[in-house]
C-alpha cells in the first residue's frame, strides 16, 4: 500500500515557495549583507531537494526539465565570461564594473558585474548539489 503523504506534499508546496523567495533574497543581498551566490544557490538546492523528497523523482523531473550537470557547467561558463568581460574592455581579468541606474520600482539601484559572477556561482552550486543528490538516489 502506498503511504499517504498528503500533509508532507501540501506543506512542501507552500514551503518551497518560501524557500525559493528566501534564497533569492539571500542571493540579491550578498553585496551589503550576509548572503551571496554560494548560500543562495545552496538554499535553492535545498528547495529542489525538498521537492524530490515530497514527490517522486520522475514527477519533479517532468516539471523541472533541467539537466543539472549542464546547469553547473553553465554557471562556470557565466563566471568565466564575466572575467573575460573585463579583458574585453582592456582591463585585467576579472575586473569588476558597477554603475547606478534608475529602475522602475526599486529607484536608484547599484548594478554590478559581480552580480553576474555570483549568478554563475549560484548556478554552479545548484547544479552540483542537486546532481550529487540525484546521483546518489538513483541506485544502479
Amino acid at each position: 500500500m502506498k503511504p499517504n503523504d498528503v500533509i508532507l506534499q501540501s506543506v512542501t508546496k507552500v514551503a518551497v515557495v518560501i524557500i525559493f523567495t528566501f534564497s533569492i533574497y539571500l542571493f540579491m543581498n550578498g553585496h551589503h549583507n550576509p548572503g551571496g551566490g554560494f548560500i543562495g544557490g545552496l538554499s535553492t538546492a535545498a528547495a529542489v531537494v525538498l521537492l524530490y523528497l515530497a514527490f517522486d523523482i520522475e514527477k519533479v523531473r517532468e516539471n523541472i526539465r533541467i539537466d543539472f550537470k549542464k546547469l553547473a557547467a553553465l554557471g562556470v561558463l557565466i563566471a568565466v565570461c564575466t572575467g573575460l568581460g573585463g579583458v574585453l574592455f582592456g582591463e585585467e581579468f576579472l575586473t569588476q564594473a558597477f554603475g547606478y541606474k534608475e529602475l522602475p520600482i526599486f529607484g536608484k539601484t547599484e548594478l554590478t558585474s559581480a552580480l553576474i559572477f555570483d549568478t554563475g556561482v549560484a548556478l554552479a552550486v545548484i547544479g552540483t548539489a542537486v546532481n550529487i543528490i540525484l546521483s546518489i538516489s538513483e541506485d544502479r
Partner: protein, 495 residues
C-alpha cells in the same frame, strides 16, 4: 598588466566547461580538447617569448594592486613549466583518443583532463600562497576523478588511499598557511618574501613553518619518507592518466618547494637546507632501489619518478647557481621524458597484454620503431650526453662538487648508472631475445596512432638535449629570481 599570463589557465577552463555540454558526443569532444590543447601550446609559447623579452610578467586579477589582490606572476621558470605542461597535455590527449575507450570518454574524461591541466598551470603561475592552495585542490580533485574513473576494484582501493593521504596533506597545507599568515600577515608570495627578508632576527617559528611546508609539498611531491602512497596509486589508472600524473603532479610539489624555499625560507642556509639535502639523497636511493627491484614495468618507471624528484631537490638543497640551473634543466627534462616513458610502457602493455617483464621478449622484431623510440627515451633518462638528461644532471652534480658536497654528488652519479640499468632492463629483456609469437597477431591499426604522440614528445626532448645551448639562456633567466629573490619581489610589488 598583461592578460597573456592568465590565458594558459583560461583556454583549458573554457574548453573544460564547453566539453561538459558535449558529454555524449565523443568525436566532438576529441576535436575540442585537441584544438584547445594546441591553442594552449601556442599561448604558452607566446608567454615564454614575452617573458624572455620583457622580464617577469604579472597580472593583478581584478585590477587590485599587488599585495591586496591575487597576483598571477609569470617568471621564466613558471613560463617554461607552463609550456612543458601544455605540451604534455597535448600529447596525452592525442594518446587518449585510441587508448582510453569510449566508456570513459563519455564520462567527462576530457573535461577532467582539462581541469587537471588548469590546476597544474595555475599552481605554476600563481603569486599568492592561498591561491596556490586553491589550484592544488583543483589539480587534486581532478586527479581523484581521473584515478577512479572506470571504477575497477583496484582503482577504487587505491583512490581511497590516495584521497586520504591528500586530504590530510591539504589540511596541513591550510594549517601551514594559517601559521605563516599569523606571523607575516600577508598572503602575497612576494610580500611574504619581502617581510621575511626585512626581519632582523628570524623567529624560530618560521623554521617550523618551513618544515611544515616541506612536509606538505613533500607529500605531494613524494620525497622520502612521504612517498609511500605513490607506487600503489600510480600503478592503477589507465596509461594516459598515469603519464599525466607521473609527468605533472609530483613536479608541482617540487616547483612549490623550489619557489617557497628560494623566496621565503632563504634566511638560514643551515639546518633547513641540510635537512632537505639528506631527504633528497635518501629519496634518490629509495627510488633507485625500487626501480631495480621490480620486474613490473609500471613500477620501474614509477620508482624512477621518485629518483628524479630526489635529484631535482638535491640541486635545490645545494642552492648554488650551477646546481639550481641543473635542477631547473632536469625538472623540465624529467616532465617530458616521464610522460614519454609512461606512454611507451603503455604501448608495450597494449601490445603484450602484460606488465610483467618476464612474460615477453623480442618485441624489436615486430615493433622496431617502438623499440628505438624507447631506447632513445631510456638513454635520455639515464643522462647519456647528447640527450636531454645529461646537462641537468651534470650541472646538479657540478654544483654539488663546487659546494663541497662530495658524498651527495657521488651518490647521484652512481645512482645514474642504476637508473640507466633499470630502464635498460626493460629494453634488454623485453625487446631483445626470442620473439614470442603470442602477441604478433595483435598488431592493429591503433599502433601508429598511439606511437605518433610518443615520437612527438621524444623528438621534443631530444631537441631539448641537443639544443641545450639555446635553451640555456632561458634557463639562466629562470634561475635568476631563484638566486636573487629581490628580482621577483621587485617585479611583483613595485610599479
Amino acid at each position: 598588466m598583461n592578460n597573456l599570463v592568465v590565458l594558459p589557465i583560461l583556454v583549458p577552463l573554457l574548453a573544460a566547461v564547453i566539453l561538459i555540454f558535449f558529454a555524449k558526443n565523443v568525436i566532438v569532444q576529441r576535436y575540442i580538447s585537441a584544438l584547445s590543447a594546441l591553442i594552449n601550446i601556442i599561448v604558452a609559447l607566446l608567454l615564454v617569448r614575452e617573458v624572455s623579452e620583457k622580464g617577469i610578467q604579472k597580472l593583478d586579477i581584478g585590477s587590485w594592486p599587488a599585495p591586496f589582490g591575487i597576483t598571477l606572476v609569470s617568471d621564466m621558470l613558471s613560463a617554461l613549466l607552463v609550456l612543458s605542461t601544455t605540451i604534455i597535455g597535448f600529447v596525452v590527449i592525442l594518446y587518449s583518443f585510441k587508448s582510453i575507450g569510449k566508456q570513459r570518454e563519455k564520462f567527462y574524461y576530457y573535461s577532467i583532463i582539462q581541469f587537471q591541466i588548469i590546476g597544474v598551470i595555475g599552481a605554476f603561475t600563481t603569486g599568492d600562497i592561498f591561491n596556490m592552495f586553491v589550484f592544488f585542490e583543483v589539480m587534486l580533485m581532478a586527479s581523484y576523478v581521473l584515478l577512479v574513473i572506470g571504477g575497477t576494484k583496484r582503482q577504487l582501493r587505491e583512490s581511497l588511499k590516495y584521497l586520504t593521504v591528500n586530504v590530510i596533506s591539504s589540511a596541513f597545507f591550510v594549517i601551514a598557511i594559517a601559521m605563516l599568515y599569523s606571523v607575516v600577515g600577508t598572503l602575497n608570495m612576494a610580500q611574504i618574501g619581502e617581510r621575511i627578508t626585512s626581519l632582523n632576527e628570524v623567529p624560530g617559528i618560521l623554521t617550523v613553518i618551513a618544515v611544515l611546508f616541506l612536509i606538505v609539498f613533500g607529500m605531494k611531491g613524494a620525497i622520502f619518507p612521504l612517498y609511500f602512497w605513490l607506487p600503489g596509486s600510480y600503478a592503477v589508472p589507465p596509461i594516459p592518466v598515469m603519464a599525466l600524473f607521473g609527468a605533472l603532479l609530483t613536479k608541482v610539489g617540487v616547483y612549490s618547494i623550489i619557489r617557497t624555499f628560494t623566496l621565503f625560507f632563504n634566511f638560514e642556509q643551515g639546518h633547513l637546507y641540510e635537512m632537505l639535502m639528506i631527504l633528497a639523497i635518501i629519496t634518490v636511493i629509495i627510488g633507485v632501489i625500487g626501480s631495480i627491484a621490480y620486474w613490473d614495468i609500471k613500477q620501474i618507471i614509477i620508482y624512477n619518478i621518485i629518483t628524479a624528484i630526489g635529484v631535482i631537490l638535491y640541486g635545490v638543497a645545494v642552492s648554488t647557481e650551477t646546481s639550481l640551473t641543473g635542477s631547473v634543466f632536469y625538472l623540465i627534462h624529467d616532465m617530458l621524458i616521464k610522460a614519454a616513458l609512461f606512454l611507451l610502457i603503455g604501448m608495450i602493455i597494449h601490445i603484450t597484454g602484460t606488465s610483467n617483464l618476464r612474460k615477453f621478449s623480442g618485441l624489436i622484431k615486430h615493433y622496431p620503431t617502438l623499440a628505438w623510440t624507447y631506447f632513445i627515451a631510456a638513454l635520455s633518462l639515464g643522462g647519456i650526453p647528447p640527450l636531454s638528461g645529461f646537462v641537468g644532471k651534470m650541472l646538479t652534480v657540478q654544483g654539488g662538487f663546487e659546494a663541497n658536497e662530495f658524498i651527495g654528488s657521488m651518490i647521484i652519479l652512481i645512482t645514474s648508472i642504476l637508473v640507466l640499468y633499470s630502464v635498460m632492463k626493460i629494453f634488454i629483456f623485453g625487446f631483445w631475445g626470442k620473439a614470442d609469437q603470442m602477441y604478433v597477431s595483435k598488431e592493429n591499426v591503433s599502433y601508429h596512432a598511439l606511437l605518433m604522440p610518443i615520437i612527438l614528445i621524444v623528438v621534443i626532448s631530444v631537441f631539448y638535449g641537443v639544443g641545450a645551448e639555446a635553451v640555456h639562456s632561458f634557463i639562466a633567466q629562470a634561475v635568476e629570481p631563484l638566486i636573487n629573490p629581490e628580482i621577483y619581489i621587485e617585479a611583483v610589488l613595485k610599479e
